[in-house]
């Protein structure tokens, strides 16, 4: 074989299996391999053409027509959407997302009887899974199927199944090219690493994770702080069923998964958590739900407790409009309707309105450590697949200041 390109992508077969993980056939794994490479190709080689099209013809045409530069990312989007190169790139990306869903669903649904049976065995009679059928799916979760996942986080093929969680779990490794690690838990791992480095003596006793989905990022936290009691809430029973079984299979017995809406945490008293965490969650809410959830989170947080929101970087005034536009792609093409508005928000202001003092706030850069079992020696490709990068900003605050 000729000299390698150096941009190695781990095979889907390198994904870490656990007792709930749906097994993939050779061809299903190969389909995910193709999708992984396609995403890489679209982010890097072909993706480079977007900026070139913008500078070579879209921007000049815009200037000619309007006599000025675009004033925001939306104007750039409208102009780019008329460009044939960008159209083809976007169509390719959308199709790749759809192909990922099709493959994940085929995998999950074909073995659903067995997955349901395994989940039942792990879930039955456990006090650590508390479902509440009266919890409604919020409008911002039901208006469209987020990231084109048919049925969203709460959908079921038949009552009580784990299809949503299984599909979600099966494909994340492929969409992120393994950058989040074998268990796709790089975000949580990065938070643990950051805490260990900066607050080695901090010992939270009770932790609330809001919008946990299938627990990808709360499981590593719970394993890192085995003495702490973790409460992980989500409105989607379908995801919780799978997530609880998965956590049990991974040995995270100190997490209680509760079907609950984060907008109303009144079942918990003031100041009863040392840590309120969200991971890749705020961008899937709404203009009213986001401040409400942060307010509630502040209320249930104990003095010197930590609130931490892990997200892709916010758009700031110094971020070029073109970059904002390209980071916005998922909002309009991958059913992430709050993505754009949320990334344009001043999160610090939101936290101050919720009750934090400005000097209590911080932003930390947290980055996934490449999993050496997946990437033995090679450097990973540094081209950013916007919206899926393994580097985040943690928007945080210590209520009343850092712990002594």
């Amino acid at each position: 074989m000729s000299k390698s390109s150096g941009v190695h992508v781990p095979p889907y077969r390198a994904v870490t299996k656990h007792d709930m993980f749906p097994s993939a056939t050779l061809d299903e794994a190969a389909r995910f391999d193709f999708i992984t490479h396609m995403n890489k190709f679209l982010a890097s080689s072909l993706g480079a053409g977007n900026k070139i099209a913008y500078e070579a013809r879209v921007l000049p045409a815009f200037r000619k027509e309007h006599g000025r530069d675009p004033k925001d990312r939306f104007e750039i989007r409208h102009a780019m959407n008329r460009d044939p190169f960008h159209q083809l790139w976007s169509a390719s990306k959308r199709n790749t997302m759809e192909m990922r869903q099709q493959n994940g669903r085929a995998i999950a649904l074909r073995q659903l009887d067995e997955l349901d049976a395994r989940a039942n065995a792990l879930n039955a009679g456990k006090a650590t899974l508390q479902l509440d059928p009266t919890v409604e799916v919020p409008r911002y979760q039901s208006a469209v199927d987020i990231h084109c996942m048919p049925g969203c986080y709460h959908g079921e093929e038949r009552p009580g199944d784990v299809s949503a969680g299984a599909n979600y779990d099966s494909g994340l490794f492929a969409t992120t090219a393994g950058a989040l690690g074998g268990l796709s838990d790089g975000g949580g791992q990065a938070v643990v690493q950051w805490l260990r480095a900066n607050y080695p003596n901090w010992k939270p006793r009770r932790v609330l994770d809001i919008g946990c989905t299938i627990g990808h990022n709360v499981v590593p936290l719970a394993l890192a702080y085995p003495e702490a009691e973790f409460i992980a809430i989500d409105t989607a029973a379908a995801s919780l069923r799978y997530g609880h079984a998965r956590a049990q299979a991974l040995g995270a017995m100190n997490i209680t998964f509760i079907q609950h809406n984060g907008e109303d945490l009144s079942r918990w008293g003031d100041g009863c958590f040392d840590w309120v965490q969200t991971t890749m969650f705020l961008h899937e809410l709404s203009g009213k739900a986001l401040p409400q959830i942060i307010r509630e989170g502040f209320r249930v947080l104990a003095p010197h407790g930590l609130m931490l929101h892990v997200e892709q970087p916010q758009y700031t005034l110094d971020m070029p409009l073109y970059e904002q536009f390209i980071r916005d792609w998922d909002a309009f093409n991958n059913n992430e309707p709050f993505w754009s508005a949320m990334h344009g928000m001043d999160l610090k202001q939101q936290m101050v309105s919720a009750g934090f003092a400005p000097e209590e706030l911080f932003v930390a850069a947290v980055k996934a450590v490449a999993d050496r079992t997946i990437f033995p020696e090679a450097a990973t490709d540094e081209t950013e697949d916007h919206g899926r990068a393994a580097a985040w900003h943690a928007y945080g605050a210590w209520k009343g200041g850092e712990p002594k």
Binding site: H8, P11, D33, L88, A106, L109, L112, E157
Partner: protein
């Protein structure tokens, strides 16, 4: 593995809720392009299967279908396969990749060059 009673083949295709953006001027091109990209994917899947069979045959002389199904590429095989898929995608995507280069090239139509050469 026992399969479910669900018609999973058909259900795998469920459309996500929400109006799909249109990318091309002609709506039929949306569907044609989706078929085309799926086919591109399936050829890649077949190549991986073939690669698996070749590697196993080389290593063992004779193989079973179970061997093929259980095969996990490791080490050099994983890296070579990664290259294989990357190269394949770049090859089938020649058109759009050349379109990028064309955007930065200010070349006149060929007719202009033809005319120019007659008289020079």
């Amino acid at each position: 593995m026992t399969e479910t009673t669900l018609d999973w083949m058909a259900l795998a295709n469920r459309k996500p809720k929400g109006k799909r953006p249109s990318y091309f001027a002609d709506p039929q091109n949306e569907e044609l392009y989706s078929i085309l990209l799926s086919l591109v994917g399936e050829v890649s899947v077949m190549r991986q299967r073939l690669d698996t069979v070749e590697r196993l045959l080389e290593a063992k002389g004779s193989i079973s279908r179970a061997d093929i199904e259980a095969y996990v590429p490791a080490g050099d095989a994983a890296a070579e396969r990664s290259d294989m898929i990357r190269e394949y995608i770049l090859r089938v995507m020649r058109g759009p990749m050349q379109a990028i280069q064309a955007m930065t090239e200010s070349a006149p139509p060929i007719d202009t060059v033809v005319d120019e050469l007659i008289n020079s």
